[in-house]
Subunit: 158 residues, 2 copies
DNA sequence: ATTGCAAATGCGAATCATTCGCAAAAACAA
DNA sequence: TTGTTTTTGCGAATGATTCGCATTTGCAAT
């Protein structure tokens, strides 16, 4: 209990109609530990027996994102957007450059930095993006990842 | 003097052939104060009287990026990659959420944070992405920007 | 419950950035 | 100059995302 009416409120507050598809999407997203693509979500919903079209998944995610209910982000060198439920906890992610998994990290080290920027430049800070790249526990530090801007291909020796 | 042979070395070091297109691209990029899209660059080259195909621009940029000569990044909610010459200074950017301009900021506030992550999680840090969003000096703080994950549309009052 | 209108959806077609295939043109080592 | 390896041009293909439009749904006012 509570679950559905909670989404109901969330949607109503932003002038969005409460549809079963939106409930399903929000519920599925809230159960995801890691951010998912629109298509991942579409497949998951289908598996759960929900009849929905991929366009609707895209449209809902975009709407929910614009209303701040869902966070949309891009993994560099990965041509798909990923979405996650916005828990309204300010957090960042660690992204595995091998398997592309994203895991959240709570907390933010940037308060000072933002102040520094506002004081040094004529720029009004409204937010930031921060992700850390590397190898997740599953992938170890095997040097087999695809190339990333953060760790370009080396060419020293032989 | 110096300029061309410098690119020559950069390319040779990474086993890339030194072609006039790659020189043109590197030169154009190095002259850009802000990151540009493949198409921006293509247009710029054309204006400079250089005959090149858009595919080649994409291919060169990708190659140069994989070799670490060029940095490729994505502006959230903007569906194009942007490229900049890699000056090998570790730096980040301020991105205007109204006009999409990116300006560099030297320095990095994340050394501590990376240590923290490695010590707390079983994750090997290899790099990071950090951009700050807000209004550039030209755009002031007029609240007219398109929506961004960092500052979703509000719906309070009225 | 019924009605009426705006918002949401399904479906397929369209977009648009980016990638690919392949033949022709460089680059460069020998 | 020759031969081999890369790079390039061109257009076609790809793949994620968006759009158009007819139909259905949510929901507020009867
Ligand atoms: Mn933060
Ligand atoms: Mn940094
Ligand atoms: Zn991994
Ligand atoms: Zn601006």
């Amino acid at each position: 209990m509570g679950a559905k009416s909670h989404y109901n409120d969330v949607l109503k507050e932003r002038n969005l109609k409460a549809t079963k598809h939106r409930f399903a999407i929000l519920e599925a997203l809230e159960n995801c530990k890691i951010p998912v693509t629109a298509e991942d979500l579409y497949i998951k919903l289908k598996r759960d027996g929900i009849s929905i079209s991929l366009s609707t998944v895209y449209r809902c995610l975009e709407t929910l994102h614009k209303k701040g209910i869902v966070i949309k982000s891009n993994i560099p060198d990965y041509n798909k957007a990923v979405f996650e439920y916005n828990h309204n906890e300010h957090r960042h992610h660690m992204i595995c450059i091998k398997c592309h998994k994203m895991q959240p990290v709570n907390g933010c080290p940037l308060e000072e930095f933002e102040k520094f920027i506002e004081s040094k430049f004529d720029f009004t800070v409204k937010g930031h993006n921060l992700e850390v790249y590397g190898y997740c526990s599953g992938c170890g530090s095997k040097e087999t990842a695809s190339n990333y801007s953060c760790c370009p291909e080396r060419n020293e020796g032989s």
